[in-house]
Amino acid sequence: MGQDVELLDVSMRFGEVYAARDINVHIQAGEFFSFLGPSGCGKTTLLRLISGFMDPSEGQIKIGGKDMRGIGSNNRPTAMIFQNLALFPLMTVEENIGFGLEVRHVSKAKRTKKVEELIELVDLYGTGGRMVSELSGGQKQRVAIARALAVNPAVLLLDEPLSALDLRLRNHMRAELRNIQRRTDVTFIYITHDQTEALTMSDRVGVMSIGKVEQVAEPDVIYNTPKTAFVASFVGETNIIQGDIIRIDGDYALLKTAWGSFFCKNPQHITKGETATIFIRPETVFLAEESTAENVLACRTKTISFEGAYAVVTLTTEQDQLFTMRLNNDGSVPKLQEGEQIKVRFSRKNAFVLKNGGTPIA
């Protein structure tokens, strides 16, 4: 069974530099939780703190309600899957999986039984006697998972274990991981810089910028209502327009920009007169009809790349700024020529304005 993991005001300092600062996250028992962020944002540090390779400079880490300070990683209810997998090359698949039990002096008979169970769980049937070097990439991945699960961890920590695989195998392993997590009910904490990976697999995602957690929420909430400009621009494709707020209209704001005036949601309740940034997802931009009056942008098509189910159209405005639109191939879209003058629109419900910079809001 999984246990919950609490990070309370956790900071990690290396010399003068903070790799993580004032992190507060409560990961539920049995949850699939991802930390998503660019490389160098401190997410691996966070994982190493939870696994016990180091203790935080400040703050507290609790697993299953118990303070973990001073407890070495060999005595924590966690198991880690390393980015390079760190399989033991001189051992067979069975020996690798059974290692955690062997060092705990579990009897040979019990060990064999457990190893067999795990080989079945991760679908490695028939490879038990092979050396690790004789396996394919996906099989190695499974050995690493089985080896970590063998010690019955309450929390499984995964440090970008899929990054070395090719796209097809990666998609397959994503589904597999999610599946294994559901079957075992262990808390999974997953580290990745790949937003698709985080969004597709996780119950909740924590988006990190440099040393900070910017937002913790369900994947759709992260995508649809990002709390900060950093989250909005890091997760998913987005169009950005700078402007000044000239009017407040309930939950909406009217901004004056170099491209015209636009209405959009104002979740941070930014006040009139401030300079802020509008974010618009490419899939919420459409061709404007004659009758449209609000949020219309005049521009010229630059490139059109047809991808089958949809076409990605890049547009330039008079100010020579780029804007992207994603048109679904539903038969209603007229054929566009490159260099054509068109008008596009977006709904005020699908655009939102956020404060400049990456400061999270309370």
């Binding site: 696994s51 880690m80 033991f88 290692f99 705990r104 092979r130 080896r147 195998l169």
Partner: protein, 280 residues
Amino acid sequence: MKSKSIFKFMIGLYLVLFFAYMFLPLIFMTIIAFNANDIPQITPWKGFTLMWFGELAKDDQMWSALWNSFIVAFSVVAISVPIGLGGALLLTRLQFKARNFVYGVLVSPILTPGIILGISTFLFWDSYMDIPGGLWTAIIGQSTFISSYCMLLIMSRAQRFDLTQEEAAFDLGATHRQVFWKITLPFLKPALISSMALAFMQSFDNYNTTLFAIGVEQTLPIYIGTKLRSFISPAMNALAVIFIILTVFGAIAYEYRRRREMIKAAVKIPPEPAAQVLGM
């Protein structure tokens, strides 16, 4: 066309000269071991004999020197390999400021002439510590530089060790001791075995350091050296022939084993491609 054949001829000549230079002395020495001549010379040939081997077998001094050589060599292995291992682990994983200095100190005995190591070992123990020279000082003296060799050898493998393997083992619940015995040491095993062999051989035929450190005792090289200075006997050639035979057999056995393992590895069935395993 012509320059090509000249080139071929030169290469051939070079090889003949090279091998003659390498092996003629050994061949001469071997022939002398079977010549029934009191003086170790090829001519005059006084008939084939095995008497020098018999004489060698009766030489008590030789046996005791050989026994001493084994004691010293095994002791040197027992001391140098652990010291080398410790130094190698220290230098490959710790990043401290004095690292280069420590490296220099640990390697310096290799660069110091053997005679100086021998004399200083003897002086230190004999004059300052009041422990007379003997096998003990020979072991210490040899270990000073042989440990450095072992360290360099083990370091070259330790540098290729992936430290996350230790973390993984530790994370899976192993104690530090278990990590060392089950993960680190097995990885270093090939380097440990070759450093043992190297230490043994370095010790076994060491002359310079041993001569000055050993006091009144004798190891085999010291015994041979003394013998060659006092009176020359073909029995020494017989001894050399025995060592040549042992060496050649050792080399052949090693090569045979290596080739057999290569064939074994080549015969193994290659792993299935990923797509097949995933049923795609």
